[in-house]
Amino acid sequence: MPVLLLGPRLQTKLILAMLSRLIPVVLCGIALAQAPAQAPPQQIDLTKFPAAAVDDVVVPVPSEVFNVLDKLGSPNWSAELRDNLGQSSGDRAQVALLLGTVIAEGFIAVQAKNAERVKKIGQEVLTLADAINVRSAVIARSKSITEKADARDWAAVRSEFDGALQDVRGAMEQLGDDDLAQLVSLGGWIRGTEVLTSIVGKNYTPDGSQLLCQPELVNYFSRRVDEMRNTRLKKSRLVTKVRRLLKDIRPLIKRDTITVETVQKINTMTNEVVVTITTQES
């Protein structure tokens, strides 16, 4: 095999020649990298950005909300767990919404530090994912949820539930089921809002109620439901009910501080829809 061998002197000459070319480039790079960042404007006009960019909202993962709730006190999470996770009717819209509520239930079980419940929910996530052809996306998550629940590693379990939600959504989007993916998020959001309003309503503080100030997120969900391409899905009784819920909640969460009466009202509204989702009415 031919090998290029260089003597020490030739090597030095080559290195020097290379350095003379590289130094300006490196200096330029360092200057660029260390250039002080220009101060950003204190005020911008958001209307100048494309509507599409501003209108789409990054949907928060449930952990972001539970992370705040952790700092607000130690509510009785066990009392928030539902005895029955609900039944799949076979209707894809119902299954997608139900899957969202079950994943949200997983977070509540984590808060309650109930390992057996967490494991049961992990299994149910797998069953429901199977019903809408995305089982393979959550097999590893389901296994990991069980292992981490056994190890009582609650932060890790929470992270796995976050990941399961993302994985299910990602898999559905890859299958072209964007509408169903949205329903999974919505199911999670509705059940999450139900339990959030329950917790905040029982031990009301203005700071706690602020967690409900999500007008743009509700607008975003409403738009996504309105823009569903699958007309049959869009006009189904369950999706119509979800759309009405979003429309009714919107004016209630526009204020910076939400009263205890409003919190309780939202709780009743979301509870009704969760019951509808979990009792196979579609």
Binding site: G29, L32, A33, Q34, A35, A37, Q38, P40, P41, Q42, Q43, I44, D45, L46, F49, P50, A52, A53, V54, D55, D56, V57, V58, V59, P60, V61, S63, E64, V65, N67, V68, K71, L72, S159, D162, G163, Q166, G170, E173, Q174, D207, Q210, L211, L212, C213, Q214, P215, E216, L217, D256
Partner: protein
């Protein structure tokens, strides 16, 4: 969104052209995660999903996020374009700058906010300098 899209991790892509495009965004995403990495040791949880696209020089892109009072957030930005300078800054729904810290180092940038109230916030991504007509970028965020 016009130029911003959620990046699906672990996407199986069929077709060479699309593979290359995704690879570039993946590279930008790797840099965003590289910027985020040290913060995980400080207790920040980095979201598994990410957002990205491509922008021309001096072009800007807004990413809208629902943030919660009580959490602290860092947004980390990366680009795959060598020598490019990118920035990310955070504004509230009135268009007021709200970040409490930011930094910019070539193809990496980051900004931090501890929201004074729960609500809608905007991460504004800008390509300040680049040798390419368009530069791929990727944004991730984390919370504590």
């Amino acid at each position: 969104m016009a130029n911003v899209k959620k990046i699906l991790l672990g996407t199986l892509v069929v077709g060479l052209g699309l593979s290359v495009a995704v690879a570039r965004v993946d590279d930008a995403l790797s840099f965003a995660h590289e910027a985020a990495d040290p913060y995980t040791k400080e207790g920040f949880t980095v979201r598994e999903d990410a957002w990205g696209g491509d922008l021309g020089v001096k072009d800007q892109q807004a990413v809208t996020a629902q943030l919660f009072k009580g959490n602290t957030y860092w947004f980390w930005l990366g680009t795959d374009t060598p020598g490019a300078v990118i920035t990310v800054h955070l504004y509230d729904s009135d268009g007021k700058l709200v970040e409490s810290a930011y930094w910019q180092k070539g193809r990496f940038a980051a900004a931090k906010v501890t929201p004074a109230k729960t609500g809608t916030y905007y991460a504004i991504v800008t390509v300040e300098k680049s040798s390419r007509e368009r530069s791929n970028w990727a944004l991730v965020y984390g919370y504590r």
